[in-house]
């Protein structure tokens, strides 16, 4: 019962912050709402007995990625964006359609799996067990992610070198 109440409160905060993120005219405010959203989702993970995931969620998303977002917004000075209403005609509807497609596919996937993946996430939090899961059960995805990030870093390096020459 307590968990249900907590879930409902958090759900309202999560959805509300997501909507506010979309409709804020100021890019920095949008980013702040997104951070609130990430934090709420981290609390969801804790409720689901996955404190490791919660901490990683905060560290990586709220801590690293959103800081970079804010950093870029501040550096470029683009915080006074044109907002959602002034975008090009049709953009809004395309975005809504694509969002529905993504939502549908995630929903289908969830229905097919049937919520069992939640149990896998709620593993023991000792570093040895985590390492076993990460490097034995999920070696291939882990390596693929690593290569993806490496490619991005190398690409960035090459591009910045070319920029410096040109």
């Amino acid at each position: 019962m307590g968990n249900l109440i907590l879930f409902l409160i958090l759900a309202v905060i999560a959805i509300g912050s997501a909507i506010m993120m979309l409709f804020s005219r100021n890019a920095v405010h949008s980013a702040l709402w997104l951070i609130l959203n990430f934090a709420t989702i981290a609390v969801f993970y804790i409720i689901l007995n996955a404190p490791f995931l919660a901490m990683v969620q905060i560290t990586v998303y709220a801590g690293a990625i959103m800081v970079l977002f804010l950093f870029v917004i501040m550096l470029l000075g683009t915080e006074q964006g044109s907002g959602v209403l002034a975008t090009r005609r049709g953009q809004l509807w395309t975005a809504a359609g694509l969002g529905l497609v993504v939502l549908g596919s995630i929903g289908t996937a969830l229905v097919r799996i049937g919520g069992s993946s939640v149990q896998a996430a709620a593993a023991d939090t000792s570093p040895r067990v985590l390492a076993m899961i990460l490097f034995e059960n999920f070696t291939f995805p882990f390596e693929v992610t690593g290569i993806l990030l490496l490619v991005a870093v190398v690409g960035l390096y090459v591009m910045s070198k070319q920029l410096r020459k040109g």
């Binding site: 920095v28 990683v56 905060i58 801590g63 800081v67 970079l68 804010l70 950093f71 915080e79 000792s126």
Partner: protein, 375 residues
């Protein structure tokens, strides 16, 4: 969980007491800093507030407790100041930024183990502290170290938002500098945090302390990691020699230029509470935490050792501030990315290899550095 209410109440009580102690400690760490800095500059430091004239035999001067009330005087002064909001600021973010700054600083207190659990406290809290066996606000959190990392990573927001919302070029420049600095040094700090985890085999801070009781302090096993953590902490805290954030000559005072009164005090408070937290982390991870002689007989002595170790860490930070000049910005970035990060990565790799070798029994019968780990 029929006792959830009782646990929550006990946690609130313990958290309240510890937070109160640390916030008082924050006030007095400002006094410690001013006093120590003054003595290192052959001055006296604040000695007027809290002047209690008690005659001493054989001495002409009656001064005692010179300056003990200085933090209180500062607080009263800051409370009395006008709560001014400059024009053209982003009011909403401007008001929320000091809160966002203080909150994570106090939040990370939750996981620091202060002492082994004394019997009377265990009897009082059968469902809260007793199952875990040590005194902390949130003893059940097994990913304590990750929690600290997570909190450290969101500490940047207060600075960024304060700088941006002030709508002042000095504040924005200070915020950009500090953000870049904190992001850069967070990496090597995180990698250094891994080393006690690897040696102790747990993310729980109490397990790390217990492991140090068996293996010796980790600063002896891993002096490089200990020093790297301290340097990274100085950079995270924006303390000298990495205090580019408040380079007065260039930025006048950095991200908090436009703040005054109690809101400014909240930034200072966050800064000093973070100093205490990082000292506590250093003590827990590398200086043996609450371990010390006679702790097994008198568990609350552990808290005394913790406080002593925290004060030692604070003193070292102040000593460094008194001694070393500030780094230039490019030197700062070079140091972080080209020196700290490679050494941290190498250290993690070498430590991992050594631990595996020790587990395989390569060092058996060898009273070497890592031989201690074998058993």
């Amino acid at each position: 969980m029929e006792n959830a209410g009782a646990v929550a109440l006990a946690a609130l009580a313990v958290g309240g007491i510890i937070a109160f102690v640390v916030i008082t400690g924050f006030a007095y760490s400002t006094l410690l800093e001013r006093k120590v800095l003054a003595r290192m500059q052959v001055r006296v430091g604040p000695n007027r507030a809290g002047y209690i004239p008690i005659p001493r035999r054989g001495k002409d001067d009656l001064r005692l407790l010179g300056g003990v009330m200085q933090p209180l005087a500062d607080a009263v002064k800051l409370f009395m100041k006008e709560d001014f909001t400059p024009p053209y600021v982003d009011t909403w973010v401007y008001n929320i930024a000091p809160i966002i700054t203080v909150f994570p600083a106090v939040f990370s207190l939750a996981v620091i183990p202060w002492a082994p659990l004394p019997q009377w406290l265990a009897d009082m809290t059968p469902h809260y502290l007793a199952p875990h066996g040590y005194l902390a606000i949130a003893p059940g959190l097994n990913v304590a170290l990750l929690f600290i990392l997570a909190i450290t990573s969101i500490e940047v927001y207060g600075v960024v938002l304060a700088g941006w919302s002030s709508n002042s070029k000095y504040a924005v420049l200070g915020a950009i500098r500090s953000t870049a600095q904190m992001i850069s040094y967070e990496l090597s700090l995180g990698l250094t945090l891994l080393i006690p985890v690897m040696i102790a085999g747990s993310l729980n801070l109490n397990d790390i302390v217990v492991s140090q009781q068996q293996n010796g302090w980790f600063i002896m096993l891993q002096p490089i990691a200990g020093i790297l953590f301290f340097v990274g902490a100085l950079a995270e805290l924006q303390r000298a020699p990495f205090d580019l954030l408040e380079a007065e000559q260039e930025l006048s005072s950095g991200y908090n230029v436009e703040y005054a009164g109690m809101r400014f005090a909240m930034f200072m408070m966050a800064e000093y509470v973070k100093m205490i937290i990082f000292s506590a982390m250093w003590a827990v991870l590398f200086l043996g935490g609450y371990a010390g002689p006679l702790v097994s007989q008198f568990p609350m002595l552990g808290a005394v050792y913790m406080i002593l170790k925290i004060v030692a860490g604070l003193f070292l930070m102040i000593w460094i501030r008194a001694s070393w000049p500030r780094l230039r910005y490019d030197q700062l970035m070079d140091f972080g990315w080209k020196f700290m990060l490679p050494i941290s990565v190498l250290n993690v790799i070498v430590t991992g290899v050594m631990i595996v070798l020790a587990e395989e029994g390569v060092f058996d019968g060898m009273l070497g550095w890592f031989g201690l780990l074998g058993g």
